[in-house]
Amino acid sequence: MPNAFSRAGAVVIGVGNEFRGDDAAGLIVARRLREQASTQAVVLDWEADPAGLLEAWMDANLAIVVDTVVSGAEPGTVQRFDASTVPLPARLAGSSTHALGVAEAIELARALDRLPGRTIVYGIEGSSFSAGAALDPTVERAIDETLTRVVAELGERP
């Protein structure tokens, strides 16, 4: 079966849950990027089990993952982590609502030599995760900032 991701030089994956307030931020970044017809990257929004990320980025040489994080920073803070050679900071592990978190999926991929050469994680600090909640205004602004930085990271013109 053809692998939908196998042509990917770069893959951008927005992770989150559409119905859980600020947890939707990563998905929104991915959708806005996809609407920019100029992007050459494969863009995925990921609401399922992060274990599947190991397939999603398998043949990519650059993976950019965008997820909401809870690290104690001000809501709306955007943090960039280069996970290519070192794990994500411990404070971000296990904060996912999914079965395996993004940090765990990255480490599992590293253990199995399935991590793209460059793996970058953008973490948008969230504050509200109630079912059905709207995005915090600070997170709205952080989505715009993250989109700009992801486009630059891909070496593409906005």
Partner: protein, 438 residues
């Protein structure tokens, strides 16, 4: 490691605020004093009923798309139970090739979900690793096997559901489009490889050291009307002799609020707890398994019933084997349904549907009006049905293992919770674990 405390003379309090390797987020709290377990609580924090409210006022045709969003691990279960309920409300039963295609897609979800839980979340408990990542260094082949098996199930979901997550092809009455036989053909080889690998896995789970613990559960599962192992629909039966259609659920089961949790807990109307999920299905439908799965179970040392919840990992491996074999059988026998869906006419009424999510029975009930608008929606997920059984397991297990150190006891309590593969995202959206001996 903390030295064991004297159970007779000391009080202990063990808390875990974040329960790892459980879908979602929750907490467990156990209090022990003078060798007696005072309290066991599984706490859940989030408002559980958001989706039921969201469904009210929406069209009956939106049920599969909305309910698929409840869980990233078992969307097909939500879609299937929801479609069955809506079809019943419209006075229709979907049979023949459409039903078989549903069952095939459901096998994909069982394969994906069971592979994830068995290898990545539960096996590390038994093999003494903190996580699948730590396990991967020493058991790389096992983790690769997990990923390949999971992928075989995932490809099935993509081929039938239209994409890997929250399938978009299912609709009330069937599917928007049915795959051709040629489109299913490439799925066969990865499934065959997964079948071979899973035979080894069943044998491997039989070698794991099981904590010594049994309980006399009342098992509740579906009974398939064709005598097959229950997956996509059936009557609700129990080890106590219950045998009812989905619409009689409310006459026999009740959901109630408990002070320490946002999730509703289920019990029998006339009393106690019950268990749903792999052990219940296995014990009530052993004869529905394939000969290969029955033989594998026997060789793994299982009898026709299983009452040690830690052995659920063996049962889950047997079910994984069955789901792969059943998928291969359904692909072989596949007839492309034409049309791919039965036309439904909404009418004023009520419908109930129930199917076997990987974690146990998932029940839906909808009231719709003549225009097809949903007046009321109720969803009873497997994890809320198992909450009491989990708390009772913990109470019994802790009482019999007070000689363990806090660290060991906490590890095994977390393992006892993972026996149920609790999908906290279904029961609510978040659950955590907390033992205390204070």
């Amino acid at each position: 490691m903390t030295p064991p405390l004297e159970p007779r003379t000391r009080s202990r309090r063990i808390r875990t605020d974040a329960l790892a390797r459980v879908e979602g987020e929750g907490a467990m709290n156990v209090r022990v004093r003078d060798g007696e377990v005072l309290e066991v609580q599984l706490r859940i924090y989030e408002p559980p009923r958001f989706f039921e409210a969201l469904l009210r006022g929406r069209s009956y045709t939106e049920v599969p798309d909305i309910t698929a969003r409840i869980c990233g691990i078992c969307p097909v279960a939500y879609q299937t139970s929801g479609c069955l309920a809506i079809e019943q409300a419209c006075g229709t039963t979907v049979d023949g090739p459409i039903r078989e295609l549903r069952r095939l897609m459901y096998c994909g979800e069982w394969i994906e979900s069971h592979a994830l839980h068995l290898y990545m979340l539960h096996a590390p408990d038994f093999l003494g690793y903190e996580s699948a990542i730590h396990m991967a260094a020493d058991h790389r082949e096992l983790v690769e096997r997990a990923l390949a098996t999971r992928k075989a199930g995932n490809q099935l979901l993509i081929a039938i559901g239209g994409r890997a997550e929250h399938p978009i092809n299912p609709r009330t009455g069937g599917f928007y489009r049915a795959p051709t036989r040629d489109e299913l053909a490439p799925l066969v080889e990865p499934l065959q490889r997964a079948l071979e690998a899973t035979l080894d896995t069943v044998a491997l789970t039989a070698t794991l050291t099981m904590p010594d613990f049994e309980r006399d559960y009342e098992f509740v599962a579906l009974r398939d009307d064709d005598g097959r192992y229950p997956i996509d629909r059936g009557r609700i039966v129990s080890s106590g002799g219950l045998d009812i259609p989905a619409e009689a659920f409310d006459d026999h089961f009740v959901e109630e609020q408990v002070a320490h949790s946002n999730a509703l807990h289920s019990r029998f109307r006339d009393g106690g707890s019950y268990m749903v999920g792999p052990m219940a299905r296995y014990s009530l439908a052993f004869d529905g398994l394939s000969p290969l799965a029955r033989d594998a179970a026997r060789e793994a040392g299982l009898g026709p019933t299983c009452r040690n919840p830690f052995q659920s990992i063996v049962v889950r491996a047997v079910e994984l084997l069955y789901a792969i074999e059943e998928a291969l059988r359904l692909i072989e026998a596949y007839e492309q349904p034409d049309p791919p869906a039965v036309a439904l006419e909404p009418r004023d009424g009520v419908g109930c549907g129930v199917s076997e999510a990987p974690r146990g029975i998932l029940w839906h009930r909808y009231e719709i009006d003549a225009s097809g608008a949903i007046r009321d929606a109720r969803i009873v997920p497997p994890t809320s049905q198992n909450q009491r059984a989990i708390e009772e397991d913990l109470r019994g297990f802790v009482a019999g293992h007070l000689d363990l150190s806090d660290d060991e006891l906490q590890w095994q309590c977390e393992q006892a919770i993972r026996n149920y593969d609790p999908c906290i995202s279904c029961a609510t959206h978040f659950l955590k674990l907390d033992i205390e001996r204070a």
